[in-house]
């Protein structure tokens, strides 16, 4: 791919974008320059708040003006400065010459419009084609992005499609008029790892076939190594490093790039399995859980089996990784383990004692089973001070108020926050800090079993590394048994002694981490491992993988 001689499709020169007064910095983007050539992919990498999405929105003219507006520089698209165009002229370009794919496929499609109509809107906005011709081209576009049975899909509504399929529809929508530039704003972040691999491959294929230039925004260096020809690394609005992908990945120059690459979970176990611990903290035997929904007076409900004959056990100081895609039932098992959801049959033994169902379960566990939740923004009560939130649990268990508060301050120091954090409200903290607070809150109960439900998947990669390190630290310090629920095999490999892989409510593989990762027995595990984005050589196309 040595197309350096051709003119860039998109060239951004010295672009600065202002933020409204009162934001955490004056400029969202500060003198950023980059260029995308035909047939090539440029990845813009950075953590949340680095201004990478602002660049994509500036190119599309989607900035929330006048508070956030470009104040300097040029965005040259095929030689024309997009910043000087009127809204009408921009509209002419959008969809026809520049396509865009958004992050959240679940909300990007209008739920009350058929798939065909949504793609048809692109035609209606830009070109005048007869209905039959339009339908033919939509069908071709759907087939092109690898969707099965386009004839049926074209007349169905979005709710029938999975996240991966919806993202395919969005890509079809963006590419149907064959634009010269495709902007992808974190198109795979909301998807499962196997779906992500398929979507990335699709984008790559389409691009090679049509010679489209791609501007790809992501925070994941694994994705970068799969798809990028060139990389631009951004930190707080500034471009800190730019260059060919392999060059940046193999020999990063800037300390921030090095930090980001080092923070990627490496999937290597960091410690030996604890020696001959005999105390079984948790035993799960034949756990079954079925959700029934829509049970009405006149109709039978629909039922989904979230857990089917799940069995595993956990000793003190050990960590079990529960791995699977969304919908595999791993979170349901986690909620059963802490007593937040009733289960249908099977037994959960905590330190050898059989725990009953519902509120009695929580009473018997007496707060010794704690949970850390996925979304750090939803897991803290916005109206409670942090100190009170941590002390609330022990106070409910009968610890004196002063003692509980002193312990809360101690725990805040332990998780790396200052003592003054106790007097502040959750909204003053970042996502990573909130997750630290959530860990402190769980530890305040002096738990013996900690269930962590995707505790780092909402966090930036460098923050993720810090929080994982904190988990490892408190696990050693308190001799915690941990159930670590995650969709990311790299994280599981790094954190866990044992791994249990779940698929559609069933445990398909269960064993020691090294064994599962090195020598996976089940086909699904192999598929999961193959789909993990890697920094090293991109994997070649794998024909065994089915379309999402």
């Amino acid at each position: 791919m040595s197309v350096n001689s051709t003119q860039p499709v998109l060239a951004i020169v010295d672009l600065s974008i202002s933020l409204p007064a009162g934001a955490d910095r004056a400029r969202a983007v500060e003198r950023a320059s980059l260029s995308v050539r035909p047939g090539q992919t440029l990845c813009v990498v950075g953590e949340s708040g680095s201004g990478k999405s602002m660049i994509a929105n500036a190119v599309m003219g989607l900035l929330p003006r006048p508070h956030v507006a470009p104040v300097n520089g040029q965005i040259l698209f095929e030689g024309t400065d997009l910043l000087t165009l009127t809204e009408a002229q921009m509209r002419e370009l959008r969809g026809r010459r520049i396509g865009m794919v958004f992050q959240e496929p679940m909300t990007a499609l209008n739920p009350v419009m058929r798939i065909g109509e949504q793609i048809g809107e692109v035609f209606d906005a830009h070109v005048n084609v007869p209905a039959a011709e339009k339908r033919r081209r939509i069908l071709a576009a759907l087939a092109d992005v690898g969707l099965p049975e386009p004839e049926l899909l074209i007349d169905s509504y979005p709710f029938r499609l999975s996240g991966g399929q919806r993202q395919r529809v969005m890509i079809a929508c963006a590419l149907v008029l064959e634009p010269v530039l495709l902007i992808c704003d974190e198109p795979t972040t909301a998807l499962d790892v196997t779906t992500q691999a398929q979507i990335l491959r699709l984008i790559r294929e389409l691009q090679q076939r049509r010679g489209t230039a791609v501007l790809f925004i992501t925070h994941d260096f694994g994705v970068v190594s799969e798809i990028a020809d060139h990389v631009v690394v951004m930190q707080t609005g500034q471009v800190v490093e730019a260059g060919p992908a392999r060059h940046v990945l193999d020999a990063p120059q800037h300390p921030y790039t090095r930090k980001l690459i080092a923070a990627i979970p490496h999937g290597q176990a960091q410690r030996a399995t604890p020696a001959d611990e005999t105390l079984r903290v948790l035993q799960v035997q034949d756990l079954c859980k079925t959700y029934r929904s829509g049970n009405g007076l006149f109709k039978r409900g629909r039922s989904t089996q979230a857990a089917k004959d799940i069995s595993f056990e956990l000793k003190r100081g050990e960590t079990l990784g529960l791995v699977g895609e969304s919908g595999s039932g791993k979170s349901s098992v986690g909620r059963c383990l802490v007593g937040l959801a009733p289960f249908d049959s099977g037994r959960i033994l905590f330190k050898g004692r059989n725990l009953s169902q519902g509120a009695a379960f929580r009473k018997e566990a007496a707060g010794k089973i704690q949970m850390v939740f996925q979304d750090p923004y939803a897991s803290l009560n916005p109206r409670h001070r942090v100190g009170a939130a941590i002390a609330g649990g022990p106070i409910a268990q009968g610890v004196g108020k002063a003692e509980a508060m002193a312990r809360a301050v101690e725990l805040l120091k332990l998780v790396g926050l200052g003592a003054d954090a106790a007097e502040r409200y959750p909204h003053e903290f970042s996502g990573g800090q909130r997750q630290r607070i959530a860990i402190a809150r769980a530890l305040a109960m002096q738990p013996e079993l900690l269930v962590a439900d995707e505790p780092v998947s909402a966090l930036d990669v460098s923050v993720q590394a810090q929080v994982l390190a904190l988990f490892a630290q408190v696990r050693e310090q308190f001799q915690l048994a941990m159930v670590f629920i995650t969709h990311d095999l790299r994280v599981a490999g790094q954190m866990c002694d044992h791994i249990a892989v779940m698929q559609r409510g069933e445990l398909v593989e269960y064993g020691a981490t090294q064994q599962v990762l090195r020598d996976p027995q089940h086909a699904y595990t192999r598929q999961l491992i193959a789909a993990v984005p890697r920094l090293t050589q991109p994997p070649q196309h794998d024909p065994t993988m089915a379309v999402a």
């Binding site: 707060g367 949970m371 897991s379 109206r383 409670h384 649990g393 409910a396 109960m445």
Partner: protein
């Protein structure tokens, strides 16, 4: 106090105006006996006195020679009192039932919501008339009647808030920590549901004042209390000869209700944190 709430509230000019009017009415109501020059029931001047003709009777007199200005001042007391007290009672009933229904869900929820629907199925004004007529018109019975017809929307609102908040992770964490059910309802969930409740309460005060005026207009007001609705009602027969008798108390009702609605809108802006930063 220059909190974000206050900044968002004051950005809404209508809300500030409404707040000013409302404060004026409250001050008048509080200082009523000291401001009013006459007993509202006393026949102190000749009847049908035009406004601004006789010193001391700025708004004229009614058909029996009673001072209209004094009547309006005393009317402000009774309107605000009934509006506030009946809203508080309605909130107590509505929040309690709504919280229980939303928190426990299932059968409890179904039972309580069917009970609520019984009240919603009957036209509220008709129910209020029946209640007042049964219990003899008095401040107490009017407050009770208004509270009984106005709690169902509160229960509905609180229930829906609780249904979503109950699923939030911080509530689950509190459950895991072994906090008691009343504690979770009162300290974890309720504070997070307060914003829409406060907004609704301000609008309920306005509705209650209207209801009270309507009842008084029909002659179902407390016979010992001068109220705006009663004044409009008694002036109805002489509307073409003496416009002022109905106009001034009517204006008072309109302005107070409008002010409360504006304040309610301002409160909903002020309590909506997502609005912050839209216009800096």
């Amino acid at each position: 106090m220059k909190s974000p709430f206050w900044r968002r509230f004051t950005r809404n000019k209508g809300a500030v105006a409404g707040m000013a009017v409302l404060l004026l009415v409250v001050v008048v109501a509080l200082l009523g006996p000291w401001i009013a020059t006459n007993d509202p029931w006393g026949m102190v001047q000749q009847p049908f006195l035009h406004p601004w003709t006789e010193p001391g009777f700025a708004l004229g007199t009614d058909t029996l020679g009673r001072d209209i200005l004094s009547g309006m001042i005393y009317g402000a007391r009774i309107s605000l009192l009934i509006g506030a007290v009946s809203t508080v009672v309605a909130l107590l009933i509505g929040i309690t039932l709504g919280a229980i229904a939303g928190y426990f869900g299932g059968l409890v929820d179904s039972a309580l919501m069917r009970f609520t629907e019984i009240f919603q199925a009957v036209p509220s004004f008709a129910l209020a008339i029946v209640l007042v007529a049964i219990f003899q018109p008095s401040v107490g019975s009017i407050v009770t009647a208004i509270a009984i017809v106005s709690w169902p929307p509160v229960a509905r609102l609180v229930r829906s808030e609780f249904l979503t908040l109950r699923q939030r992770d911080f509530v689950q964490a509190a459950l895991l920590a072994g906090q008691s059910t009343p504690r979770i309802i009162l300290t974890q969930i309720l504070p997070n549901a307060m914003s829409p409740i406060i907004v609704m309460a301000s609008l309920m005060v306005a509705t209650a004042i209207l209801l009270e005026s309507s009842l008084s207009f029909l002659g179902l007001g407390d016979p010992n209390q001068m109220s705006w609705g009663y004044m409009v009602g008694s002036a109805r027969t002489v509307l073409r000869q003496a416009w002022w008798m109905a106009l001034f108390p009517g204006l008072a009702i309109v302005l107070t209700v409008l002010a409360l609605n504006l304040v309610g809108e301002g409160l909903s802006d002020g309590l909506n944190t997502r609005l912050d930063g839209r216009t800096k």
